[in-house]
């Protein structure tokens, strides 16, 4: 193990980690929005949209992110749609994450008793208002563990974005191994940086989960 190689490589990995984090954060926020929307469509059984969402969820959950990225990066240009690598990565991650988030939100919504909606409607709220102020907060608290698991899952999934030529952590490590044969150093740095990214997120997620749950139901 050559420690000088490691210390001199740290800035390159740092930059790659920031890219991983950026794709991850934007992708996760977009996934959560897509997921919330899909869950609302399914929960309220909105015709037509509901079927579209069902197809999307099956398509998204049953194809690997790697294949989805190939499709976006190499397939779409054939029909004249050319997106930069980073856009492909974010769209791909959102396409994957949206369905996972949808399922998490839906399980949360399903466990809020329907009479809670009636109780909100009986006060004169519209359904969207009731959704926003009464159903979603409760569903969110119930879904918190599944949602935070998704966040960590999606950040780990970003490790395949190097296939669309993005210099993320995996890409940088492969480069280092391929050009300098610093295999051990590269792998050590790779593991260390992923842990550096994910451990705080994981701990933060645990904390948030406890806080949300105790706020809502005090268990």
């Amino acid at each position: 193990m050559d420690w000088s190689v490691i210390s001199s490589s740290i800035p390159v990995y740092g930059e790659a980690a920031l890219l991983t984090l950026r794709i991850g954060v934007i992708g996760i926020i977009a996934s959560a929005l897509v997921g919330l929307l899909c869950a609302a469509v399914q929960s309220f059984r909105i015709p037509v949209l509901r079927q579209i969402v069902a197809v999307y969820i099956e398509l998204s959950r049953n194809t690997p992110l790697l294949v989805q990225l190939f499709f976006l990066y190499f397939g779409l240009p054939k029909v004249g749609v050319v997106w930069p690598s980073e856009v492909c990565a974010i769209v791909g991650l959102t396409f994957l994450g949206g369905s996972y988030m949808a399922e998490a939100f839906r399980s949360g919504l399903d466990s809020v008793h329907p009479i809670q909606l009636q109780s909100a409607l009986a006060l004169g709220m519209s359904t969207p208002t009731a959704f926003r102020h009464v159903l979603a907060p409760q569903a969110f608290a119930i879904a918190a563990p599944a949602l935070t698991a998704n966040v960590i899952f999606l950040i780990k999934e970003t490790s395949v974005v190097s296939v669309v030529a993005l210099p993320d952590l995996v890409y940088v490590a492969k480069e280092q191994i391929g050009t300098d044969y610093d295999t051990s150093e590269a792998l050590l740095l790779l593991v260390a940086f992923y842990l550096l990214l994910l451990l705080p997120i994981s701990l933060g997620a645990n904390w948030l989960e406890r806080k949300v749950r105790s706020n809502a139901f005090g268990s």
Binding site: Q116, L121, A122, L123, G124, M125
Partner: protein
């Protein structure tokens, strides 16, 4: 005097199983009147309340509130529901909000009320029902009776003209029934118009101006409480009331044999 709430030939059928829940119900409720609806389980009394504020759709008849017909297809239920408040059997407080949050949500998101004013009114109402010190408790920290009192106040916050109370003491432990009924009695004394479905016969007798007895989706008998409970006109009401009378079971003599 005109009726505040008027039902004419209201019909309701559940679409999925074809069961007729309401079979031509007619009922007029005057302002400040307290009407107790009683009857066996499944007679349609809860459904009747839920049709009045549009939680269930009716298939025939009309429902009038003041001068407005509220049961046609163009009904703005959001407006009607502010005029007709409903309290549920299981309180249905919002578990993620504290007591004050529960009370202020309706005024805030439905009526866009002034926050300071609404808070002041909420505190006054809480004081009145004896929960002045629980404004910042979460629903799970309250007893059933306390939750139901908060639920009543939450409905009152919208300044309804009519209150629908759907078996509001049915889920309570017996020792908590009283504190909730006291609140209802006080509202009645203040002149609140109320339609209540209940199994508390003594309470119905004490508080109601009129008792409505329903069976199989129809109103069988309407009467003054004293007259109804002492000598009901219909045989079905008589039989129903008898189910609340307990007689010591006949004990066979131990030595007999």
């Amino acid at each position: 005097m005109n009726a505040l709430l008027s039902l004419t030939d209201v019909r309701k059928q559940y679409p999925n199983n074809g069961v007729t829940a309401l079979d031509g119900v007619c009922l007029d409720v005057k302002a400040s009147e307290v009407v107790a609806i009683i009857g066996p389980s499944g007679c349609g009394k809860s459904t009747l309340l839920r049709c009045i504020n549009g939680l269930e759709e009716i298939q025939g008849g009309t429902i009038r509130l003041g001068d407005d017909i509220v049961s046609d297809c163009g009904t703005n239920w959001r407006r009607v529901r502010q005029r007709v408040g409903m309290v549920f059997q299981n309180y249905e407080l919002f578990p993620h909000l504290d007591v004050m949050g529960n009370l202020l949500l309706g005024p805030k998101v439905v009526q866009r009320a002034d926050r300071a004013e609404a808070t002041k009114r909420a505190q006054q109402l809480l004081d009145r029902v004896g929960l002045g010190d629980r404004a910042h408790s979460l629903p799970r920290q309250l007893s059933g009776g306390q939750k139901q009192r908060v639920a009543i106040v939450r409905t009152l916050m919208m300044r309804p003209e009519v209150l629908l109370l759907d078996e509001i003491t049915a889920s309570l432990d017996p020792e908590m029934v009283r504190e909730v009924l006291d609140v209802v009695a006080e509202l009645a004394a203040d002149g609140m118009t109320m339609l209540l479905v209940t199994h508390e016969m003594a309470f119905a007798r004490a508080i109601a101006d009129r008792v409505v007895f329903m069976d199989a989706g129809r109103i069988v008998e309407v009467g003054e409480p004293e007259q109804f409970f002492t000598s009901p006109a219909s045989e079905r009401a008589q039989r129903f009331l008898n189910t609340f009378v307990f007689e010591a079971p006949h004990k066979p003599d131990a030595d007999e044999e």
